[in-house]
């Protein structure tokens, strides 16, 4: 039975996008007559939020329809998109299964809250309706990415969210000398590097399996495993697709666009660059878990990349002064955890962290937005301090988010992070090393999170309160904060450790999606921790989080002394961390400069001087020859006839020689 109404889930926000776009142009027309005219732009916020809310309702309906054991997915009729040749069609259907339902709820649910928040945050902006047009388009594309039945459909969403990211990062394109536009461009291009890899992976899969839809691909992967056939090409395909994931989900070596993406309005950072889009890569790998399970060496690579990214980004977050900068690096770092989980074969733990992270990181970003809003666009934490007195609601909810991020016991992040590290630990061998990196990063996380809290909300006020008048944000902004805070605190209930002797809800829920990958990767003997070991790891994680949170908080709660001391005496370490390990600098000075140089070299030396120079020389030569030949053109008919005859003879000779 086909459920064509599923198309409405991305369709509604898409309609919203078109409507808001129209409202924007109507507003522009109204402003042509009167620059101060309001126009119908104000309608855009409620319409956009309402339609995303409706999409959430529909997703919930679909979600409840697949709760039972007898039916775990809904599928629409396919859109026969690209007929590849006379027989094969690359089509797309909308599918809600256990995985896409969970992701869909996060995207529409958190997306709805952020839309509501944004109606307050963007109030008075001259591009208000345009902003919601982009934001709605983003939600639509994200839903296409998640709900598509085929990898081609996912790619449509994949590039679509990239486009929205580009447009929204560069939303304030004329500010700061055009830097947001540059940042948007950087994001788009770095994503495209990943996308090129994604395309090759898609083609290689098609070459092997002759299909684009996930069901066939995964079935073929299982069949390959059952037949014991060679997996070399499949491993390569998995690696190439992971390359795509590295771009979208900001992993090494393609993560440097994400910190710059903070040039966009803060609701964008919360929705796109924390809660949803950047988790696409994780979604893709869970979706293709049987394929990845066939290639343990690729999975190991995924885990290593994840762990390294987590550590490098986490350490860079330690020294950031920009409030959103800390959160940006923190996001990269947390995404690294998710890839570490995927590499360890802990698909469920990865999704668990995707969900809890969506709650607490969206909360932190929106909180940061509230702070920035209240501080009149100030983002430098060194110019904040003591804000808990001015914005109590933001402060309290921010604490909840910070607690969850740093993994304080019993909050959501604590459980999801613990589950990832537990899985890595259980694999043993060289995985202990990756576990160690993960634990180290947890320590960094706790430290930088509470440094951020201390610098922002505690200590002396490092601004002129009389001039600045910091203020709490309106209810339309703080209400979403409260909801997200509740989720950040209680989100752990989705996946309590089995030593608590309660069901792991998410594990049970995802079983139909992940069992194939589990069976291929681990067979009958999934690595398992003894209850004692697990209790120990849990306790150890709690201790690490508490200790470093305490250190981070107390070192910075009274002012900038600790920061200044580190910058003064930190030497090479401080420089390395300030520059995020110099990776971005390497790109701008190494790669970008080389490409620019190559472009100029090709355009000037090879093309203008070389090829075109030769052509012009040929032209000059021809003119000289023509001048010297002029005496043959003496006007006598006989002479012309002679030359014509000679020419014809040459032509005949040539043809004869060619054997015609």
């Amino acid at each position: 039975m086909e459920s064509n109404w599923l198309w409405l889930i991305p369709g509604l926000p898409f309609m919203g996008s078109v409507i808001c776009g129209a409202l924007h142009f109507l507003t522009l027309r109204a402003r042509e007559r009167n620059p101060e005219a309001k126009g119908p732009a104000a309608l855009a916020g409620p319409i956009a939020a309402g339609l995303v809310g409706l999409a959430f309702v529909l997703t919930t309906v679909a979600f409840s329809a697949i709760r039972g054991e007898d039916r775990t997915l809904l599928q629409s009729a396919p859109w026969n998109w690209i007929p590849v040749d006379g027989h094969t069609v690359a089509g797309v259907a909308m599918v809600v299964d256990r995985l896409s339902a969970a992701m869909g709820l996060v995207v529409t649910g958190v997306g709805f809250l952020i839309h509501v928040y944004a109606t307050g945050y963007m109030h008075g902006d001259r591009g208000y309706a345009k902003f919601f047009a982009y934001l709605n388009l983003f939600v639509a594309m994200m839903l296409v990415l998640i709900l598509s039945s085929s990898i081609v459909g996912t790619f449509v969403g994949w590039e679509g969210v990239g486009l929205c990211s580009y447009l929204l990062i560069g939303f304030w394109y004329d500010k700061q000398d055009g830097w947001p536009a540059e940042a948007g461009q950087k994001a788009f291009i770095m994503n495209r590097i990943g996308d090129a890899s994604f395309l090759l992976g898609m083609f290689l899969l098609f070459k092997n399996f002759g299909a684009f839809d996930y069901a066939s691909i995964n079935a073929a992967a299982e069949a390959t495993h059952a037949a014991g056939a060679s997996t070399g090409q499949l491993a390569l395909a998995a690696a190439l697709l992971f390359g795509g994931a590295c771009g979208k989900s900001a992993q090494l070596p393609l993560f440097t666009w994400l910190p710059d993406a903070m040039a966009g309005p803060t609701p964008v950072s919360a929705l796109i660059h924390a809660a949803t889009m950047v988790t696409s890569g994780i979604y893709l790998i869970i979706r293709l878990n049987p394929l990845y399970a066939l290639a343990p060496q690729v999975m190991y690579g995924v885990a290593v990349v994840g762990a390294l990214t987590a550590f490098i980004a986490g350490s860079s977050a330690l020294v950031q002064r920009d409030l959103k900068g800390v959160l940006a690096y923190s996001t990269v770092s947390q995404l690294g955890y998710m890839f570490l989980a995927l590499g360890s074969g802990a698909w469920v733990a990865a999704l668990f962290h995707v969900i809890t992270h969506a709650f607490f990181k969206a909360l932190l970003f929106l909180g940061a937005g509230s702070v920035i809003h209240g501080m009149h666009e100030e983002q430098d934490m060194h110019k904040m301090g003591g804000l808990r007195r001015y914005m109590p609601r933001t402060f309290i909810t921010f604490l909840a988010g910070a607690g969850a991020l740093s993994g304080l016991p019993l909050l959501s992040g604590f459980f999801s992070k613990d589950e990832i590290l537990g899985h890595t630990f259980a694999l043993g061998g060289t995985w202990y090393l990756l576990w160690l990196v993960g634990v180290g990063t947890a320590a960094l996380t706790a430290y930088y999170t509470w440094r951020m809290v201390a610098l922002t909300f505690f200590g002396p006020e490092r601004f002129d309160a009389k001039a600045l008048h910091p203020h709490e944000s309106p209810a339309v902004m703080t209400l979403p904060l409260v909801v997200l805070a509740l989720l950040a605190v209680a989100g752990g209930l989705l996946g309590l450790p089995h030593i608590f002797h309660v069901p792991h809800l998410l594990h049970h829920w995802l079983e139909p999606v992940t069992h194939a990958g589990d069976a291929i990767r681990f067979g009958e003997h999934a690595p398992h921790l003894a209850a004692g070991t697990e209790w120990m790891l849990l306790g150890f994680g709690a201790l690490i989080a508490l200790y470093f949170a305490d250190r981070g908080f107390h070192a910075h709660k009274s002012g900038l002394a600790a920061d200044e001391a580190f910058q003064a005496r930190g030497g090479a370490l401080a420089r390395t961390l300030n520059n995020a390990w110099g990776i971005d600098r390497f790109y701008t000075r190494g790669v970008v400069a080389t490409v620019k140089l190559a472009a100029v070299f090709i355009a000037v030396v090879i093309d203008q001087l070389g090829i075109d120079g030769a052509v012009n020389a040929l032209g000059r030569g021809a003119r000289r020859t023509g001048e010297s030949l002029r005496r043959f053109a003496d006007g006598s008919i006989a002479g012309y006839g002679l030359w014509m005859g000679a020419g014809a003879a040459v032509l005949v000779l040539v043809l004869t020689w060619m054997g015609v």
Binding site: L28, P83, G86, F155, Y166, R192, A603, I611
Partner: protein, 505 residues
């Protein structure tokens, strides 16, 4: 009769415009627009009636024309899956060009419109001719109008650009003429089907030469590197209407020729030469992209992007797989639409500011938001964003190439990255950042007439991007027949290599 109408109605229109006794230009423009609209309607009619599943030429008209010795040259028109999309594109694009030209052609309008219509006849004939002599006739007819359009209505360095264009094209034409004469006398046929049949029985040593003659002639037209340097000058100097026709249709005569006279006529030779053309295509993609990155002249940048995009087309066709061929044919249309749009849009800005230097702009998104919207849309179509037309073509081409040669595909796929680099860079330079030049602030936004030209083309990009089947299914029969013939030729080539026996000459 339908195809003859399609071909010669513009010529009739040209005569009409030439002799119409009126002093004002409005009537002339109206006649031109009317004629192109009728042709467009006819083109759409032919397109809708075309049976995509069939490999046969349709709407065929055939009359004896003249004889060369004992060889019968025929006036033979027809349309098949390789040409139907280009016929439709030409027919549909011309009214837009005619409408847009009123904005920027201010002198000698009557002449301009005459040349425009003559050009349409030439282009239609090229795509419809099923006889090589007739093809050659139309080919030459189509060159003359552009020569004048460039030379009379071009920008400051128009004479240099015109001469270059003319010499390049002439060299190609002569080479093609030699190849045509050789093929006609060798086979004793002048119609394409006859030559094709004859070529199938000939040894590679002979068809190889013929293939080379045709291929180089068309490579100049495409242009493939290293024959591309006329394009940037011609595009930069041409008036907007000229650039649009050049990018939209004229260059496709080259890729179409490669397909019809290279691959379809000499499959065995094409198979042998495919690695070279795959490589040239892939290198062209990157070379064009790097060239574009270094440009500061917006029109030149778009011209260089054409080199890159046409590299995709050539690569896809010479993948010699169904996906690659279909993608190549579709991408000809896509490039015509999206690059045509970019030229039209920048043309509108050029009319207002009379500068092509990107440094003269910046922050236009705030000054001319409607222009900004359409530019961004067209740029994204060109970049190959899924949902718009460019993606479908590029994706099919890359897929087809991957099936033929994963390594070439891996090289070419980086074009997806560099393509984004130069187009985003141009967009950043035009639209974003603060407004640096005060005169841009008072620049008027797109007028309704201009919107009426670009909006339908943008809709076409969207339509092809979302439902490409409407176009692709028209190619199915012809492409499949071609792939079968390629397979057969491949078999013959292999057995020839295996036998290694002297064949009777």
């Amino acid at each position: 009769m339908l195809l003859s109408l399609l071909t010669f109605l513009p010529l009739v229109g040209a005569l009409l415009v030439a002799v119409l006794p009126t002093r004002g230009n409005a009537a002339l423009r109206a006649v031109t627009l009317g004629v192109t609209l009728v042709v467009a309607a006819l083109g759409v009619w032919v397109f809708l009636g075309f049976e995509g599943a069939s490999a046969e030429a349709q709407y065929v008209e055939s009359h004896a024309w003249f004889t060369l010795g004992n060889i019968q040259v025929t006036y033979r028109l027809g349309v098949d899956g390789l040409s139907i999309l280009l016929v439709a594109l030409t027919a549909v694009l011309m009214p837009f060009v005619a409408a847009a030209s009123s904005g920027h052609i201010h002198t000698r309008q009557r002449e301009f419109l005459v040349w425009l219509l003559v050009m349409e006849t030439g282009m239609m004939g090229v795509f419809l001719a099923l006889d090589v002599m007739l093809f050659y006739f139309f080919w030459e007819v189509s060159l003359v109008p552009l020569y004048f359009i460039l030379g009379i209505w071009g920008a400051e360095k128009r004479i240099y650009a015109t001469l270059k264009f003319f010499l390049y094209t002439l060299s190609g034409s002569l080479l093609m003429l030699v190849a045509i004469i050789a093929a006609v006398y060798g086979s004793g046929h002048s119609d394409i089907a006859g030559i094709t049949d004859w070529a199938a029985s000939q040894p590679l040593a002979r068809t190889g030469w013929l293939f080379a003659g045709f291929a180089i002639a068309f490579a100049i037209k495409v242009p493939l590197i290293p024959f591309h340097t006329w394009l940037a000058d011609a595009h930069t100097q041409a008036p907007t209407a000229g650039s649009v026709i050049l990018a939209g249709v004229l260059l496709k005569m080259g890729t179409y020729g490669l397909l019809r006279f290279g691959i379809a006529m000499f499959p065995a030779a094409a198979i042998s030469a495919a690695p070279l053309f795959l490589a040239l295509g892939a290198v062209g993609i990157l070379y064009g992209a790097f060239l574009a990155m270094a440009q500061t002249d917006v029109k030149r940048l778009i011209a260089c992007s054409s080199v890159s995009h046409l590299g995709f087309v050539v690569m896809g066709m010479f993948a010699l797989t169904a996906a690659g061929l279909r993608g190549g044919v579709l991408q000809m249309i896509n490039h015509g639409l999206s690059t045509g749009l970019l030229f039209l849009l920048f043309g509108a800005i050029y009319e207002r500011r009379h500068s092509r230097d990107i440094a003269q702009f910046g922050g236009l998104a705030a000054c001319v938001p409607i222009f900004a919207f359409f530019w961004t849309f067209s740029m994204l179509a060109s970049v190959g964003l899924p949902g718009l037309n460019g993606f479908v073509g590029e994706w099919l081409i890359l897929l087809g190439t991957f099936q033929a040669s994963p390594l070439i595909a891996a090289l070419a796929v980086t074009g997806v990255i560099f393509g984004a680099v130069y187009l985003l860079k141009a967009t950043r330079g035009l639209l974003f950042g603060p407004v640096i030049h005060e005169e841009n602030r008072s620049m008027p936004d797109l007028r309704l007439a201009e919107i009426a030209v670009v909006a339908p083309l943008c809709l076409a990009c969207l339509w092809i991007g979302v439902a490409p089947g409407g176009l692709l299914n028209k190619t199915t029969g012809s492409v499949e027949a071609l792939v079968q013939r390629l397979d057969a030729a491949r078999g013959t080539l292999q057995s020839a290599m295996l036998d290694d026996v002297e064949r009777p000459r």
